[in-house]
């Protein structure tokens, strides 16, 4: 099967006056049609920069220095800005984390959703508005014909996020990038939003790239998961495999940090010692080596390759 999205050895660097920040440094992955893939990693590991690369909206002084991003076989990096605008919101859409900030405060929510539709298909405004009301109803906004006339600040947090999702769904994109869509919400609403995304994926057949640092949410909706550390993907595999038998020491550390449901109640949660490396000066060898309990001599000087270990699993480590 042809992958929907292929990212091949993507490198995006920020050329600041302090030096070059290698925010994304050799990221490769594939997303197949109709699947939900999780991308997990701690803050600053390059998750959001990866999505900005895919949509080609990297802020200055960031630049994609090498690699390729292909959507249905077609390289996005070769497209002109005008062609890219059709892709953004049309074939790939994004749901941002902070829904209130992602909505224009002085324009009604319905108009913002309808605007996305009109930006991609030249229909009369009335029709775009009707589409917006329909999709707002589909994402579970009650009385959408009235609510569409309201402003973002008149919505609850969950309704704001639903509006942002409505804007992301209105053009029926092939790929929805959900960049931590539930972080700002309480757990019951988180659950509803996750179900909503899953439902959208099932009804429209879209793929979802679900970015989060919440491993529990990823396990709930994703089939495959990618673990990112210091600008690189360190492990890819199915949720079942990675959660039951993580291979990379970093992934193992992350899994150990999930509080156990049984056993001793008053125990300390394990933590990965140390902190992520300074993106201005990554270690010469494996980027996780300084924090890795299992690091060998060679890990300090040699960068481990990203190896397939069968079953669609990849791991960036010298261990087998």
């Amino acid at each position: 099967m042809q992958p929907l999205l292929e990212v091949a050895d993507l490198r995006a660097h920020f050329f600041t006056r302090y030096g070059v920040i290698k925010a994304v440094d050799g990221v490769s992955f594939e997303i197949f049609p109709g699947e939900i893939v999780g991308l997990a990693g701690e803050s600053g590991c390059g998750k959001s920069v990866t999505t900005q690369c895919i949509l080609r909206i990297l802020p200055v002084p960031g630049r994609i220095v090498s690699g390729d991003i292909r959507l249905q076989g077609e390289s996005l990096l070769d497209l002109s800005q005008e062609e890219m605008r059709d892709v953004r919101g049309g074939r790939i859409s994004i749901v941002l984390q902070d829904a209130l900030a992602a909505l224009n405060p002085v324009i009604t929510t319905g108009r913002q959703v309808a605007d996305v539709f009109q930006a991609h298909s030249p229909v009369p405004w009335k029709e775009a508005w009707q589409q917006a009301v329909d999709v707002m109803r589909a994402v579970g906004i009650p009385k959408p014909e009235i609510r569409a006339e309201h402003y973002a600040h008149e919505f609850s947090g969950g309704m704001q996020q639903r509006t942002v999702i409505a804007a992301a769904l209105i053009c029926k994109p092939d790929l929805i990038i959900a960049d931590e869509p539930t972080t700002a919400l309480d757990v019951t609403i988180q659950m509803q939003i996750l179900n909503l995304l899953k439902q959208a994926q099932q009804e429209m057949g879209s793929s979802i790239l679900y970015i989060s640092h919440d491993l529990a949410n990823i396990a709930r909706i994703c089939e495959r998961v990618m673990i990112m550390y210091a600008g690189q993907i360190v492990e890819i595999g199915s949720v079942r495999d990675i959660y039951s038998s993580p291979l990379h020491p970093y992934t193992r550390g992350l899994m150990a940090c999930i509080p156990p449901m049984e056993g001793e109640r008053h125990c300390y949660l394990p933590a990965i010692s140390g902190s992520p490396p300074d993106p201005l000066m990554y270690p010469a060898g494996c980027r996780f080596a300084p924090r890795c309990a299992e690091a060998q001599e060679r890990c300090k000087f040699e960068s481990p390759p990203f190896n397939s270990v069968g079953d669609g699993r990849y791991v960036r480590c010298f261990q087998d």
């Binding site: 900030a101 224009n104 605007d115």
Partner: protein, 279 residues
């Protein structure tokens, strides 16, 4: 209708709005409501006190009816002030918004020029422009456009820069909006309140500036009545007829105040977050 009702709940702004409307009506309907011809000289009746001989506000040094001159004067004052401000918004505002959104070195240079203009007092700029082009009304308007553009450029520039950094602009970009769509849907609606408030304040200032130029003898030339020239001329006869400068002064004061109040109200009107529940 909703908008009007919202404005009505802010009493000061509503009062300002009504006063602004009345001033505009007065300017438009001047020939209908003015009791006399504003430039008709009537030497025998000169310096008539208020409420005498059919002159409600009295007459000036050559016997012209003061009330009629105030009414007609509003035409010049309002026309000069509003066209200067609208012109300045178009010129300065566009420079500011485009520089703020697109950045780049051309815009840096444009904004530095604006900064230089900003350092020179408006009246100085106006004086030099009038010196170059003469005292026609168009020259005065042009002078004020030059003088006020830097301010609107600055306001729009800083507003645009602030809006550009907002997440909803990034969201629009990620949804495939073109730069023009972003300017129209995200930038302009969000900086509009800033512009409107500045506009009303500067219409008020424009009225004052026109009056100041008139006072310096550089405004619209006699016998056309303007509030500024009326004030200047009446100064000379102040000891003889002390009420004479009061009327144009009062007209300037009331209209400036009205525009200021109205502008404050408009700012709240254009910000949905400032609306009270149930409106």
């Amino acid at each position: 209708m909703k908008t009007l009702r919202r404005l009505a709940t802010n009493r000061l702004a509503a009062a300002g709005g009504v006063a602004v409307l009345l001033t505009i009506m007065m300017a438009i309907c001047a020939p209908l409501i003015a009791p006399h011809d504003p430039i008709d000289i009537h030497i025998p009746d000169r310096f008539a006190p208020p409420f005498s001989g059919g002159y409600i506000l009295g007459t000036d040094e050559v016997g012209r009816d003061v009330l009629s001159r105030i009414i007609y004067g509003s035409r010049v004052s309002l026309f000069v002030a509003t066209s200067a401000v609208v012109g300045a918004v178009l010129v300065g505002g566009s420079i500011g918004v485009l520089s703020g959104y697109f950045g780049g070195w051309v815009d840096t240079i444009l904004m530095r020029i604006i900064d230089v203009l900003f350092a020179i007092p408006t009246l100085m700029i106006a004086l030099s422009v009038i010196g170059l082009f003469g005292r026609a009304m168009t020259a005065i308007i042009f002078a004020l456009i030059v003088g006020y553009s830097p301010l609107f450029a600055r306001v729009c520039y800083s507003g645009t820069v602030a809006v550009r950094e907002q997440l909803y602009v990034e969201a629009s970009q990620a949804q495939g909006a073109s730069p023009w769509r972003i300017l129209r849907q995200d930038v302009l609606p969000n900086i509009f309140p800033l512009i409107v408030v500045q506009m009303t304040t500067y219409i008020a200032r424009g009225i004052l500036a026109e009056a100041s130029l008139g006072f310096l003898g550089l405004g619209v030339q006699p016998p056309t009545p303007t509030w500024g020239t009326m004030l200047t001329l009446s100064r000379e006869y102040f000891y003889h007829s002390p009420t004479l400068p009061v009327w144009p002064g009062l007209a300037i004061l009331v209209s400036v105040f009205a525009f200021n109040l109205f502008g404050d109200g408009l700012r709240d009107l254009f910000d949905p977050r400032a609306w009270q529940a149930g409106q």
